[in-house]
Point group: C5
Chain length 361, copies 5
């Protein structure tokens, strides 16, 4: 079992202390890889894809087709993010949220420049079965969607495929549907994570039920609790986000999209539901394990007590006849030894009967 670093739960927002509000600082792990910008324009008839060098290049595309989707992968170059301010009039405070990869999931609307953005966590297990947490931001404006990710994950790959192949409704609908489809794809991935986490719980439970206890179980249980905390931290606030989205009065989302947003909120409520069940199952397991420890100690103590209480009186008696007094008449008797042995046997049997009555054996 791979341990999750606590650092990944509490990333260093503190690094930004003292800077003016709206300062664009990337708080994640710095790296030198280039930032990828993939442009995707489409309407019912056609799809065009292009890799951009500058955000500003998008201006040529905007408004020409029905939907423009700019996908930015990598946050290490803050100047790229800054271009969003000029191109889409996204406020510096919003960009600060996007770059602050430790941000709590949230939804913000800007009525002035008429866009809204959502900050979420993408959650997945990597090849080493470590839980990975990556921030994803989505900006929805008139005619365009911008997505910003830390790493090139596979989160949006299936949406891209659907756009290319014209599967489902995505090509027939506007940018609000794309926005919904992207969010839906993230929430779908939560169920994959919860599923794998539940598999872990199940395997642990199996061990508990089969009574294959080993000293590492305590540590394993603790790791499961930590993993749960990390998952909850990422998933729990999503319900508020989808609820706000559902209640939003905005021109950005057409009326027909409402049924999809409801579905989104339903999914978020269901993840919260599963999280609560996980929490209760973990609590039950912790209790069960603790009770098992006590029960096991009882069993150990009983063995000790039974052996000790049987043999200690017997040892005393044989000790008596090991004394060297001159005048001990029993020592001279003919059948003293076998009779004593029978007596000791009787004592031992009486003890056993006593323990039997108490249901200890």
């Amino acid at each position: 079992m791979v341990r999750i670093k606590l650092k990944s739960i509490f990333k260093r927002r503190a690094a930004k202390t003292g800077l003016p509000p709206g300062s664009l600082v990337y708080v994640g792990t710095p790296n030198n890889e280039p930032v990828q910008m993939l442009l995707m324009e489409y309407n019912l008839d056609a799809v065009r894809e292009a890799m951009l060098q500058q955000v500003s290049e998008i201006k040529n595309a905007l408004g020409k087709t029905q939907v423009t989707w700019l996908s930015i992968v990598g946050l290490q170059r803050t100047d790229v993010i800054k271009q969003l301010e000029e191109t889409f009039q996204v406020h510096a405070m919003a960009l600060e949220d996007i770059l602050n990869t430790d941000h709590r999931p949230k939804l913000e609307t800007n009525t002035e420049n008429n866009y809204l953005y959502v900050v979420l966590k993408n959650l997945y297990y990597n090849d080493l079965k470590e839980l990975q947490l990556e921030q994803v931001s989505l900006i929805l404006g008139t005619g365009y969607v911008v997505t910003v990710q830390e790493k090139a994950g596979t989160a949006f790959e299936n949406i891209r495929l659907r756009v290319r192949n014209g599967h489902g409704r995505v090509r027939k609908m506007k940018e609000d549907y794309l926005f919904y489809a992207l969010l839906d794809s993230i929430l779908d991935s939560y169920f994959v994570v919860l599923d794998k986490f539940n598999d872990k719980l199940e395997r642990f439970e199996e061990q508990l039920i089969e009574r294959q206890y080993d000293p590492d179980m305590l540590q394993h249980l603790y790791d499961l609790q930590r993993e749960y905390l990390l998952i909850r931290k990422a998933l729990w606030p999503v319900r508020d986000v989808t609820y706000t989205l559902l209640r939003l009065e905005t021109t950005l989302a057409a009326k027909g999209i409402q049924i999809y947003l409801k579905d989104l909120h339903d999914s978020a409520v269901q993840t919260a539901d599963v999280l609560e069940t996980c929490r209760d199952m973990l609590a039950n397991m912790v209790n069960h394990y603790h009770s098992h420890l006590t029960q096991h100690m009882n069993a150990v103590m009983k063995v000790l007590t039974i052996i000790t209480t049987i043999f200690i009186p017997l040892s005393f008696v044989v000790g008596v006849y090991g004394m060297n007094f001159k005048h001990m008449p029993e020592l001279e008797w003919q059948f003293a030894y076998p009779m004593l042995m029978l007596l000791l046997l009787a004592i031992a049997l009486a003890m056993l009967v006593f323990f039997r009555r108490r249901r200890w054996i």
Copy 2:
């Protein structure tokens, strides 16, 4: 006691990941049995029943009598479910919910095509005393009710009987009353399940009170906790469903039906009440069992301590007179042996008095 599979708590919604929203996928156990479609038309005077081959056949019936009830059993053929979209203008997203047998109980209204649907869990113990969870969906439209179940249970059999025989009010009233009666019958079955679960709790409690402890009790308690979680997961959200139903402003439910919906909500509140009491009783039992373990260990330890502390000093004394020193005057005394025996008896009695004072014996 039969164990509930964890899988039945967290069914594989993850299987749908990556598919476009509104994709009709059956996530349950696939099987090849045919899907049953039973049509029931009735008004005050007459009842007609028929097995349909296609959903579309229903069109001939719709609107001819007062109430049309289409009962579909089996979700394995998604094409059958798909026909609901064409026939009743049920939205694809609603059908997705109906097919997703892991869905949380919910109520959704569609004002456009004027129907509402409810997704609930049917809960019952099968012949092996295993708790079974089956999804039931009900669609209420003008003049018709459609019910969709996974398996042919007995959930709606008594309603069917009442319709056939004209018992109760069902034949005198419209489709909204049928809808209510079906929901009421599901909620009634919850009380049967809670009753049987309470019987289990009672039997366990009886064991606790009679002090017939055995090592399996811990496992048994854990199984009860899991069963509780599964029941709560199915029942808890029902209260929200009935509350929404009660507050709904819709033309689908006549005003006279309000009193029945209130009754429905009352039942749901009562199940929630019973669930809370079950939770508290389980918590008390867990605590009680744990305290019992500690108390039992105390009893074991006391026996060990009493026997050990009485005999260890005595053994020491007899050990002293088992030493082989040449010059040990006591060994020569005439009455040393009986006097020593008396001394040992006195020590033992003093010990017993000491334990008596401490109320250990």
Copy 3:
């Protein structure tokens, strides 16, 4: 201590499963005693009492005096209850609630026929000090109050006395005041039950504080927890009932009655308050008892450890000089025996000092 049957907590609502809504079924213990119907009519000047055979006889009385109070004792004959439907136009669903003796406390209003009814629990300790739970329903209509009880308790006896003797305000006021006075009398009886329950808690606490522990305390504590659950189940929802009553906009309650309803709600809030304190006290006691068990085990273990660690090394030493080696020079020494004895004493004292330092003795 008499144990409460779990059955009394979860009565068999399940018995009604499968019946049409509004079916009048008595779910309590069946018996053959006749149903008592006591009519009481009064105004400021006069009181008339009569035993009725049929509910319909009441029609002669209704409206002649200021207030008519029909008190029905016994639910076993559902036909009697059914007559309420004809005489007072009480809806069948309300009668179903009244007969379902496992119903949660609730208040329902019927604006059509202008009546309201309240279902409550009467709670008292019987002569065997067993907690008894009995359902009481009160119907308030224009000019009349109907009360329905399971058994002839003393719950309303003092109100009857007040009406007969003209004590207090009851004769000067209308049926709404009578309704209030009846509810107030039930809530008053809750304080008697809480008082007796608190006496039990107190006695248990006294035992805890005096350290008169005995093995039955654990069971006793568990019984107190169950009794608490039963009391809470009956009392907790009453607060919602009185709150609804207070907020009700109805012509049934005159404006002047408002101050009394506030008082009623205050009482209900106070019972909830006392319940919460009871819960916390029980939790504290459970914790305290458990800590005591652990502390007691510590004390037992210390005795065992002290005795064992003192005598085991000594026994070893005397064992050494009990060996039969030919060449053991010490055995020949003149003062070996007394010197060894002194040495052993020194070891024992050193041990004692060690334990003293560790504050074990």
Copy 4:
């Protein structure tokens, strides 16, 4: 440490059962001391104080000066309280609340006769360091304030001083400010109690941290928990009272008084805050103490185990050479005894190394 009687937590409201609503019954400890009635009239220029014999005497004073304050000490004579009904038109139900010294803190307004009253608890430690709980009621009407206390405490003495000496704003303002000042003085005294209670917690914590454990600590902890329950019972509902006061729309409180009521509510919120911190601290202490017990048992068990496991094998070996077999060649060897001694030493050392490795010593 003096123990709080449980009776003081649950006073006998039950004593009133069966009496008509509005019956004036004093439920506290009866005594024969006379009831004191102190009248205080003042405006900016003058103060007049007088001891009254009858409440009705106040009529001569009412309305002559700006503010009239009647302070009644002692509840044992219900006839005195009854006079408030005639003189100030205070409703009998309000007087019942005032006399019921077990009442929950509450605020009630009477718009008809335009007065409001507040029931609070006065909380203080007496000279024996016992926590005392006394009910205080305040009635605010146009031009007058009436305060009713059980015992002559010092609660309002400093307000009286301020009125006499013209300190602060009290003489410049109206009866609403006096009302506020009296409430504020009660809330101030809560901070004194919380402070002393925190001192107790601190001292206990000090003991925990210094590891000066003694067997009475468990009982002491339990007493702290009970004292906390008593304080919470008196203080917790006060927040609701001040909140209601703040939101009240009444002519009794001038607009300028609003800022003071806000301050009052702030104080109440702060007491609730401190209470919560106390609760968490107590919970931490309970946990800490329990963990300490377990840790201590670990230490005891280790000593027992180390001593036993070292000497029991050694004792066995020396037992072997204490056997009386004729043919035991080792017994004849020249250096058998010292060699055996060395062997035993080696065994003991090996054991110690083993325990060292396990970090037990």
Copy 5:
């Protein structure tokens, strides 16, 4: 690890008891250092700084430039604070809050004189790694901001730098932005504290995971719990403050500032989030540590039981042949001794197999 004094959690608000409301009393540690008053006036073009002797000197400055910021450090001279009343018409009750350094974080508005003030805690670790809690009050009026601190901390130093150097937006904007920037700087410092606290949690967790248990861990855990309580006490109410600020309808904050206040509230929500995760982590650690103690005791008990149960029967057997009976035929046998030794070995091996089967070794 340095311990936080409980006194710093519950400062002596009680000291003020008995004084009239609005009395200006400094409840902190008294000292004789002078109170510093730094005036900072600026607009887009220029900045002027001056040390004032009297608050009244500020009148010359007010309104001349765009923003006036008066920063007061030190609360020991209440006369200085009193001058705020005359100069800015701040109400005495507000000044009382500012001086009461134990006040709960809160926001108050005064519509009459059009100002609002916020009381917050400044939280930081000093050089001794002790957590320090200092009260900071901010008053926002038309054209000015007044900040009042207990000690000259570095909390606002970076804001001062930004004003001087014209970094960020501060010089371009009005006093409301300055007010926001100051609050933002305090909230930023909370993340620094939470970060350091999380480092402590991490180090403790590392110890738990590496199983480097030592007896001080229990105490250390308790200290972490106390530190958590102190941090929560300071941070938790901040969310209410920022929420009120966000919802405020006031002319003091321009509309453009709304986006910054939202950001502020986001930060406060995030601190609350981190606090909750800390609480859960602490709870997990406490549980884990306790389970470890029990598990460790199991291990100790097993060693004791194994050693004892193997050697006690063996000792008994050798004791038997140490008896001095005249007639014990085995003693004469030629190979009795080696055969007995083999028998004992067999018994020991059987015991070991038994323990192996039970998975104890």
